[in-house]
Symmetry: C2
């Protein structure tokens, strides 16, 4: 029947382009949209455009934000001498849930992975070095995932950062090896933060 | 962090309203939208509005369509003397995949379920009776799910339809009892169609 309803097929196809959404799920979601009130469908469409148009990278930490400078970077109460380097914006979200980290962040937007064509110049490493180069930073916590690529990226960063006279640490292995930080529970993340060690 | 990015939180909240989408999945999909090209995000928003605005119920069979009369009802090649009654539009899609049924459909938009406040007047039963009342219909295949509510609805319909002098049949129990027709494989649906029996 979707073959007959072009607009339903097109909508399912759009849902299917989102990360982790299969064909059946996409069609189910498209049907779901038909059951929305008209104003809810409008609000949904508007929310997509708003998010896509308003959200950009913070020029300081490269995290996603809808303000000029993100609220974490513009927060005077936070310790701007400690930078926690993370792979993506979702990890910032996970770290913030701990409510124990009072420093700031730097989002790499990926991990070094030559096999997948992700070389260091494709990540926000230049921006990190420039922040540390300004001299106010005392410590960089490299909170990349405890995977091969995460460890390799951490090693790469520590080699670049240490000559700048900054302390480089890594989250303690409270985080289960091989896991994704996004799904770590808050206590595990807190313990990992407490037990951080010099690289 | 989503706490800081209002437009991201709002978008995730919209995804979360769709059937079967949990909080984590909704947030993951919202992040996915941020990675879309601007024109893809626009096309996505437009697809939502198009689907919601263009698709309505076919006045004959009550199935979803974006045309005045749905392509199945307006197909002269099909046998308008045999009506297959289904619960929802998704079941029509599943039945059409069999490519063996050459009759037409009638979509009830639910099953009788007094516990959930779904009384017969909330379904498209009046429209079905009026179609059958026109006298052209020879057989009504009641293809509701083989569940308690599906069976009850089938019994209710057969009591109303039989006095109109029409043959009322039910899909054979080739369909596994307790299952959802939407997920039945095509061969099972085909066998069930072949072995249909009088109620």
């Amino acid at each position: 029947m979707a073959e007959y309803i072009e607009s339903l097929r097109l909508l399912a196809e759009r849902f299917g382009r989102l990360e982790g959404v299969g064909k059946k799920t996409a069609m189910r979601m498209a049907f779901s949209v038909l059951e929305l009130e008209l104003e809810d469908a409008q609000a949904f469409a508007q929310a997509i455009m708003d998010a896509r148009e308003k959200i950009h990278l913070c020029p300081v930490c490269q995290n996603l934000t809808d303000r000029e400078i993100c609220p974490i970077c513009s927060d005077e109460e936070r310790d701007h001498g400690v930078i926690c380097v993370v792979t993506d914006a979702r990890t910032v979200m996970a770290m913030e849930k701990v409510r124990e980290f009072r420093g700031v962040y730097h989002v790499l937007h990926g991990l070094i992975s030559p096999m997948n064509g992700i070389t260091p110049d494709k990540l926000k490493i230049r921006e990190l070095l420039s922040r540390v180069g300004e001299g106010e930073v005392e410590e960089v916590i490299v909170a990349t995932n405890p995977t091969v690529e995460g460890e390799a990226t951490a090693m790469y960063l520590s080699k670049l950062l240490k000559p700048l006279g900054v302390r480089v640490t890594r989250l303690a292995y409270g985080v289960p090896v091989g896991a994704d930080l996004e799904y770590a529970d808050e206590i595990t993340l807190f313990r990992a933060l407490e037990g951080r060690r010099d690289v």
